[in-house]
Symmetry: C2
Subunit: 245 residues, 2 copies
DNA sequence: CGTGATTGAACAACAGTGATGTTCGAAACT
DNA sequence: AGTTTCGAACATCACTGTTGTTCAATCACG
């Protein structure tokens, strides 16, 4: 586990912690801790005060992108591979934001497709491809996440029709459907689902036990769920094709 | 001068050249030349054949972004600084593609502005800013240049009104006005100019002696021209404020 | 179909970059 | 005023990316 994540979690659990505490916890020098705190403060994870830092992470919010990106990479890669296998050459695809979908983007780099990613991370991963047609939606990128949101994004989606939408999410359950932490993100995901003929959700096991604030769509609007969890009976019962990666 | 640019120009001037020729010309090993040719072929600069490469650069087209980006940096920085000085805090700015405008983007990173860049390079340069409101236009990024073009870009521009447009160009003269190499780019530039109250052109001296294929706008639609050239009387006579950086 | 030239994969050497620790003067809190 | 904390500057180290070398495979041409 990276030191930044270790610090983030320690500060979150304790509410606030001193620089010396974090130095002895991580084994790094105090100077390094200060540099880390500066980075994390810039990401909005915590707030510095003289001698230490206090957490800014609310319950029900998400740790920032940079800290999630190398979480569970093995599972994400497996899920992403299964999603990529469901997509046929020549299709047009709208690709949601988030770390799992970013892995999907990497696997699509050399395919022959039309792709509209909903985050700048995925745009960057794909912008060097010479085989696919890359479409960038308009919008305001949320800091860190770089997920595109707002009226420009919605307008871009509404003017197009895709074969497939690949949606990541923060929570998924048969009862509450697809949920997201961010309200604007939820609106974008909804627009992406509406503009696609087929909807694939890419969901790692941890998401199946969680429900986030904003409702995106009912399970019935999904065509397939790709997951690494074995226990997805609830979803299968709701009439969705469950693909286990 | 970088070896890649040296190779590009040598091959362009000779039409085609052998690997051994390029190795002795640059002083690098043949293996390195082969690796360079692979890179340049991927950029569409040239075409490889067994034993050498032949140029694909047409007269009237532009060398790719990666090769222009560290050309004349000193002049570009000066021009960019003068442009940035013309922009007041709180303004909304649409920022054209190209290497000069990318320098402007870098200088705007910590300002309090609303900025819509027309190339992904500038988007990336600005996406880590916490002070400015970044708007991404939709569109299809042109390979290498990463300039956004197409109907999505035009729609994004048409739905907004900016205080200032900062336009780079490929050619500028009192007689032929502002010109660009790429037709789609020209349409985007035109839309940017239309959607802004004030138009600033950022033009290094080499552009003032050139005219490119696509007409963008007459000199009279510009409010100011920022350049490093001394001899801009023609433009001043046409009624434009000329700022010498 | 053979022969010589060309290619690219694999490895080694090297330089440039980024991360970490240490020191020390300046700033901040008590 | 005294103590603590902070961050700039420099040294060190690991790592990454670039270059060169070697060699087996491939290609073009006679």
């Amino acid at each position: 586990m990276s030191r930044l994540k270790q610090i983030t979690e320690a500060v979150r659990d304790a509410g606030s912690l001193g620089v010396a505490d974090l130095a002895s916890l991580t084994g790094a020098s105090e100077m390094t801790i200060r540099r880390d705190l500066e980075i994390l403060a810039a990401q909005g994870v915590l707030e510095r005060y003289r001698g230490g830092a206090r957490s800014l992470l609310l319950r029900g919010s998400e740790p920032p992108f940079a800290l999630r990106s190398d979480d569970n990479t093995a599972a994400k890669r497996r899920i992403a591979a299964a999603v990529a296998a469901l997509i046929a050459d020549g299709e047009s695809v709208v690709l949601d934001s988030g770390t799992t979908c970013l892995e999907v983007a990497r696997l699509l780099h050399d395919r022959r497709l039309t792709v509209m990613p909903l985050s700048l991370h995925a745009v960057n991963a794909l912008s060097s491809s010479s085989t696919l047609t890359l479409l960038v939606p308009g919008g305001r990128p949320r800091p860190g996440e770089l997920a595109l949101t707002g009226p420009l994004t919605l307008a871009s989606l509404q003017s197009l029709r895709f074969d497939t939408a690949v949606i990541g999410c923060c929570g998924l359950s048969a009862e509450h459907g697809l949920t997201a932490f961010d309200l604007e993100d939820a609106a974008v995901k909804r627009a992406a689902i509406t503009s696609a003929r087929r909807v694939i959700a890419a969901v790692d096991a941890s998401k199946l036990t969680r429900t986030a604030l904003a409702h995106v769509a009912a399970v019935s609007s999904l065509d397939a769920v790709v997951t690494d969890a074995e226990s997805a009976e609830g979803l299968a019962a709701a009439g969705v094709a469950v693909v286990t990666a």
